[in-house]
Symmetry: C2
Subunit: 199 residues, 2 copies
């Protein structure tokens, strides 16, 4: 018998995080992590909107359809890549009491841990990005006002960093394998991307 | 000034979930969602292990290096795709009180919601897979003993389903765009995958 996932050709398409304000979070991921809004849905009758961000191959990015169109919807549900889906429940952007749970505090930690918290357990931990230089990128992010949970030289695992997104979700930065570049990412377009204008 | 994400060539590489037992969760994602273990780390000194799963292109899957080798580590940190990272804190598999937090219960929901829970707020929601037939795959998963949060015809959004992984994380099933197939996924290898033996 064929395994179910292969029989129905399953592919990992999204990770969903609830956010407070898309006007803050979408530019954050576009500017700081090279992502691009590839589609959005608005459900005013249910008071929520969904924003899908991908890190497209540089050569493909310019050819992506405009978000919110039939073409971008078709792209979203036929892509091979994995998106970050940001869910905005309308009104949270004006709710001073709104917060999200990062997943990293809980009673399953030792009581002396600064992340110990009674009454909850941990679960989801973080998303991560491969980057060319964790130290330089961390310094650039911090200079741009991004908060850090762990700088590259802090903690027991040197060279890894965790910064915080606008809602406090943890984002890990891991060095891309030395000398490599993403497979199927043409050298020419990658080199060009280093000199692209800011989006 | 070039945006930081492009300057350091950031690419979305992982989503991390804590799990109770890798002997349960790794086969679950391999069998039911077409994923493959591409690398693992063991840190006995810190009592945790990490399992990285990818949905490789079918033609590439056979050529992947053995997990836990230098070659698989190099692959992991140079890949273009996005992995699911499963974190196992040693001992949880024998801890009857262990549980994880799915991210979908909280006091930010209306008090009459079955998912309302005082004292916590929501955050991470789910991961999702594109599949060829949500109804047929849901039926096959349910027949294989997988629990469902929402079957395709339940709730207000017909055609979408949410099943639960072994720890209770929500996994959404979304239909792949009609007539499409993952881009850059050769038709020949995709057709072959429909007749592959179970891994």
């Amino acid at each position: 018998m064929t395994a179910i996932g292969r029989r129905y050709n399953a592919s990992f398409q999204q990770t969903m995080l609830r956010i407070k304000d898309p006007k803050v979070s979408v530019p954050f991921y576009e500017r700081h992590f090279g992502m691009k809004l590839v589609h959005r849905y608005d459900f005013p009758q249910w008071k929520f909107s969904l924003y899908f961000l991908e890190r497209p191959r540089d050569a493909a990015a310019a050819a992506l359809p405009s978000p919110g169109t039939k073409a971008s919807e078709a792209y979203l549900w036929s892509m091979t890549g994995t998106t970050l889906e940001l869910t905005h429940n309308h009104g949270s952007e004006e709710d001073d009491s709104f917060s999200v749970w990062s997943g990293n505090c809980g009673s399953d930690l030792p009581a002396e841990s600064p992340l110990f918290r009674a009454g909850v357990v941990r679960g989801f931990g973080h998303i991560a990005f491969n980057v060319e230089d964790v130290y330089a990128m961390s310094a650039a992010l911090e200079a741009a006002g991004v908060a850090f949970q762990k700088r590259p030289d802090e903690g027991r695992m040197k060279g890894l960093a965790f910064c915080l997104d606008p809602d406090g979700y943890w984002i890990e930065l891991v060095k891309r394998e030395e000398g490599s570049q993403p497979r199927a990412w043409p050298a020419a377009s990658r080199a060009a991307s280093l000199h692209d204008a800011e989006p």
